[in-house]
Assembly symmetry: C2
DNA sequence: GCAAACCTTGACGTTCACGTAAACTGCGGC
DNA sequence: GCCGCAGTTTACGTGAACGTCAAGGTTTGC
């Protein structure tokens, strides 16, 4: 869409840490365990990060803190994405419609499994949320009763 | 609703482990860190679990594996629940409407904070789910194209 | 051209959530 | 009364996800 890498400041690790809220150690650790591709380096060996790298880190962090996934699960998701990327390559390279459909089925399998995992988590959260909402409504209801009817007692409301 | 504890088999730890899928160590650990109330014991010191205890363990496990909460977060949720329980006691004991409303506000504060935490997680998951659904649909669409139009080429479909 | 600030790679320490082994006790069957 | 299995506590081990310190090399401002 835009120029490949024209005028992309290329941040060093401290700046990336500031922007993402992660620590430098954490960023290095994520690279160490393969969550980030080995970052490009300066002549002296300093890690250099592009905006895309920052976005990637932010996505990882969101998956971790917001969605509550473990690094292993995140690894799986990213792994599945790159698997799908390779599958798409094969799909584009293939010309046999039958083979193409087989490749699609494979892709669908990967996606479906990932989706099932995430949806189970969401269902559990939905149950929790419903419970909290219900309790909040009961509290609100009680509060409304107390707010409107402090003078005229319960019996008065029956008339 | 039913008899307090009439004819409740009271399982020992092995049976509970079988039924919940947790290990005995895990069950003891949960008791150790206060996720379970110190279980009642036989004369000889064996832990004895009621159906309610089993349900409690299953709930904890669901929160852990499905919702992806940490034990600390689960602890917080349960803690908040018992806090609310005590708040309800105070509510029932109070007769001053103003005080009652203050107690309700307190309760609402606790609930709202818990709810916000969980809803953040769900939003993150929703984003993920939407992404996967979209990809699945694209795959399904491609597959449908290949299924219906293998003989008549793309150009043929335009006629 | 040099000090201060920043970076690198080890390497060891830490907390969480258990696993596992050791040593001892409770209990049903013979 | 003893065997064997299931249970108990105590205690050390482990993998994940980093924190932290040490001994160096790199960049940058003046």
């Amino acid at each position: 869409m835009s120029l490949p890498a024209a005028r992309d400041p290329l941040l060093r690790i401290e700046a990336v840490a500031q922007r993402t809220g992660l620590t430098k150690r954490t960023i290095r650790y994520y690279e160490e365990i393969g969550l980030l591709a080995p970052s490009c380096r300066s002549d002296g060996g300093f890690r250099l990060f592009s905006e895309a790298d920052v976005a990637h880190l932010e996505r990882i962090n969101a998956l971790k803190v917001s969605a509550g996934l473990t690094l292993a699960e995140i690894h799986e998701l990213l792994e599945a994405e790159s698997v799908r990327e390779r599958i798409r390559e094969r799909f584009r390279a293939s010309h046999d419609p039958g083979e193409k459909r087989a490749i699609l089925a494979e892709s669908r399998g990967v996606l479906t499994r990932q989706l099932a995992l995430i949806e189970r988590k969401r269902l559990a959260l939905d149950g929790l949320i419903a419970g909290y909402r219900e309790r909040l409504e009961r509290v609100a209801h009680l509060d409304a009763e107390l707010a409107e009817g402090p003078a005229r007692k319960r019996q008065g409301a029956l008339s």
